[in-house]
């Protein structure tokens, strides 16, 4: 058994990291889709007020933080649903009010204010107690299960709210549910990455996945994989490098994002170089268009005046412009060699 697993507190830390890495990107993808990437940050601010109230009144800070964050989540959605321009300002007031209240109340409490504040703002994963872990595990599993069950509908609402409403979906209820899931994730993750960094774990793995994946389904899976790798890998790295776990996790996630950006930029450049758009024609190929169809790997080419048009995004590509006709399968008849 590696040294890192020999300690109870590290076992608990790794398990907590695994749960957070799983839940945060799953919820976060819908925030990215709805262009609400920063909302988790705001909920974290409000949760801090909850933590402070818990510390001050000797309640469990997790529970009071949860209460504050969930109320904030519902208020956010109701303000957004009203669609007023002043709503934006109202949210800002709530978020800054939350963090200010948190700082002031925690400063008035007896139990070592600065250390307490730090552990919630930036995470203190190695101090996770067994009972904390049980609560986190249960909450994280609820978040994962509910998000999975609602996934198609959350996707539909975020994709086109008006259409979802017209098909009878309970759009406001689904949006509030997503906000509450976000709030619970924020609280579950606050001991791992801290309230100031939690939003990063919800958003950055998704940003990375969006660069690489080809579909929503693939992107969500990739984001969850990245989230787990970063959070578990970050905790392990922090143990060996003696760095704070929260910051290490987020830096790891950003490193992966930058690697993916570089990869996708290079891939696009290569694709552009190898890519020859077919001549523009108003005619759109289709099953009955009269041009012979050639099944080819995972797509269909249309034989057009002796060269092959492959559907690509909104236009047609010349199929494999760099290959000579002889390298193609013999299905094609090349009576017009101009393009090859």
């Amino acid at each position: 058994m590696p040294e890192i697993l020999a300690y109870d507190f590290m076992q608990r830390a790794l398990l907590a990291a695994l749960l957070v890495g799983l839940a945060a990107p799953m919820v976060g993808v819908f925030l990215v889709q709805r262009r609400l990437s920063l909302i988790g940050d705001g909920m974290g601010h409000v949760a801090l007020a909850g933590v402070a109230v818990g510390v001050f009144t000797n309640q469990a800070p997790v529970l009071t933080a949860m209460a504050f964050a969930v109320v904030a989540a519902v208020v956010i959605e109701l303000v957004r649903a009203r669609g007023r321009t002043s709503g934006d300002v109202a949210l800002a007031v709530m978020f800054y009010g939350g963090i200010a209240l948190g700082v002031v109340v925690i400063g008035r409490s007896q139990s070592g204010a600065p250390a307490n504040l730090d552990s919630y703002l930036f995470g203190a994963i190695s101090t996770t107690t067994k009972s904390d872990l049980l609560v986190f595990a249960a909450l994280a599993l609820v978040v994962v299960a509910v998000t999975w069950a609602l996934r198609p509908r959350l996707f539909a609402v975020a994709n086109d709210e008006e259409y979802a409403r017209a098909t009878g979906m309970r759009v406001t209820a689904l949006n509030i549910t997503l906000a509450v899931l976000t709030a619970v994730t924020v609280v579950v993750a606050m001991r791992v990455v801290g309230l100031l960094l939690i939003s990063a774990l919800m958003i950055v793995p998704n940003a990375t996945a969006q660069l690489v994946a080809g579909s929503f389904r693939a992107a969500i899976r990739l984001a969850v994989a990245i989230g787990v790798i970063c959070s578990v890998g970050g905790v392990a790295t922090a143990y060996y490098a003696d760095t704070p776990a929260g910051g290490t996790i987020v830096l790891l996630a950003i490193a992966l994002f930058m690697a993916a950006s570089t990869y996708s930029a290079m891939r696009d450049r290569i694709a552009r170089r190898r890519h020859l758009e077919a001549e523009r024609h108003e005619h759109e190929h289709g099953v009955n268009c009269g041009h012979p169809m050639i099944e080819h790997d995972n797509h269909v080419d249309y034989l057009h005046d002796g060269h092959r048009h492959a559907p690509h995004q909104g236009h047609y590509d010349e199929h494999d412009p760099h290959k000579t006709p002889h390298e193609h399968d013999p299905l094609t008849t090349h009576d017009d060699p101009v393009r090859h």
Binding site: V29, V32, Q33, R34, R35, L78, A81, R82, G83, A149, L150, P152, R153, F155, A156, A158, N159, D160, E161, E162, Y163, A164, R165, A166, T167, G168, M169, R170, V171, T172, A173, N206, Q210, A213, G214, S215, F216, R217, A218, A219, E282, E284, H285, G286, V287, N298, H299, V300, P311, Q313, G314, H315
Partner: protein, 291 residues
């Protein structure tokens, strides 16, 4: 504007004294719709039956979008009687029977979504909360894409398609719900001529399959082949309701100036309403649907 009932001279007013029709797909009696308490379209009386292909015609801001959005429950029903498939609208819950094709210039590109994933949204009303697309759902999605001629693009990121192709994706999404009537908001607005031609072929194909359609538009050219009826709306009132031939006659005679229903080609955001937002932030007023 007068307070009296508008009386189109084609005889449709004769049905207004009757009760709402139980056979009609859509049945309205002196109905009005709007936002908050402000009626945008009022005193609408009509029955739409299976197999009809109806254009709801009118200048920007006339209330034509408000009328169809009212049928979909997207704004407030402020008066009169409205029945869908014989059920009063406040008790109607079988929303999948109305296939809505919203007016969109582009689909959201905040995250990747393939054409098939967007069309699959249309199947959701037929799936349970824990259910996922099965073999039959996938077959219907594929077939819907084939009808709009996009079956070869199922795996493509939808944001890379042209505006006209995206419009057809939205039609396929509506078809995937297997609706009994298609309700389209400006399907041909803002797309180039070649795409309009393809779109009108798609509409002709749907009409040939016997689809009932209610199409909001401000230009008839792309639809002329398939229409069976025209409803003209001006300033929130129905001013004509009848077959396309009679509509031409009514337009030939001197009457109220109708600014842009033919030949006037719009593109981009030019055709956004000037006076009243047909699709805007006001649509999100709470409390009318999620109770």
């Amino acid at each position: 504007m007068t307070a009296t009932l508008n009386a189109p001279d084609d005889g449709s007013q004769a049905i207004s004294s009757q009760a709402i029709s139980s056979q009609a797909i859509v049945s309205l009696r002196s109905a009005s719709f709007g936002y908050a308490d402000r009626a945008v379209v009022s005193d609408v009386t009509m029955d739409i039956h299976a197999g009809e292909v109806v254009a709801v015609l009118g200048p920007n801001g006339s209330g034509k979008s408000t009328l169809v959005k009212g049928l979909l429950g997207l704004n407030n029903h402020l008066g009169g009687q409205v029945a869908l498939f014989g059920t009063p609208i406040d008790r109607f819950h079988d929303h999948a029977r109305l296939g809505y094709v919203p007016q969109r210039h582009t689909l959201s590109a905040s995250v990747r979504a393939t054409v098939a994933e967007v069309v699959a949204i249309g199947r959701l009303p037929h799936q349970s909360w824990l259910g996922r697309a099965n073999h039959e759902d996938r077959r219907i999605i594929k077939e819907s894409l084939a009808v709009v001629g996009l079956d070869d693009r199922a795996a493509v990121d939808v944001s890379t398609l042209s505006g006209g192709q995206q419009r057809r994706v939205l039609i396929a999404r509506a078809l995937a719900a297997q609706p009994d009537v298609l309700i389209m908001d400006e399907p041909t607005a803002g797309i180039d001529l070649a795409s309009q031609e393809i779109l009108s072929q798609v509409l002709a194909r749907l009409a040939a399959r016997g689809a009932t359609m209610l199409i909001v538009t401000h230009e008839l050219r792309a639809l002329s082949r398939v229409l069976t009826r025209i409803i003209q709306i001006n300033q929130g009132r129905v001013t004509f309701d009848g077959p396309p031939g009679n509509h031409e006659l009514s337009q030939a005679s001197p009457g109220p100036a109708l600014d842009d229903h033919d030949g006037h080609h719009h593109d981009g955001d030019d055709d956004l309403p000037l006076t009243w937002p047909a699709a805007g932030p006001l649509d999100r007023l709470p409390g009318f649907h999620d109770a």
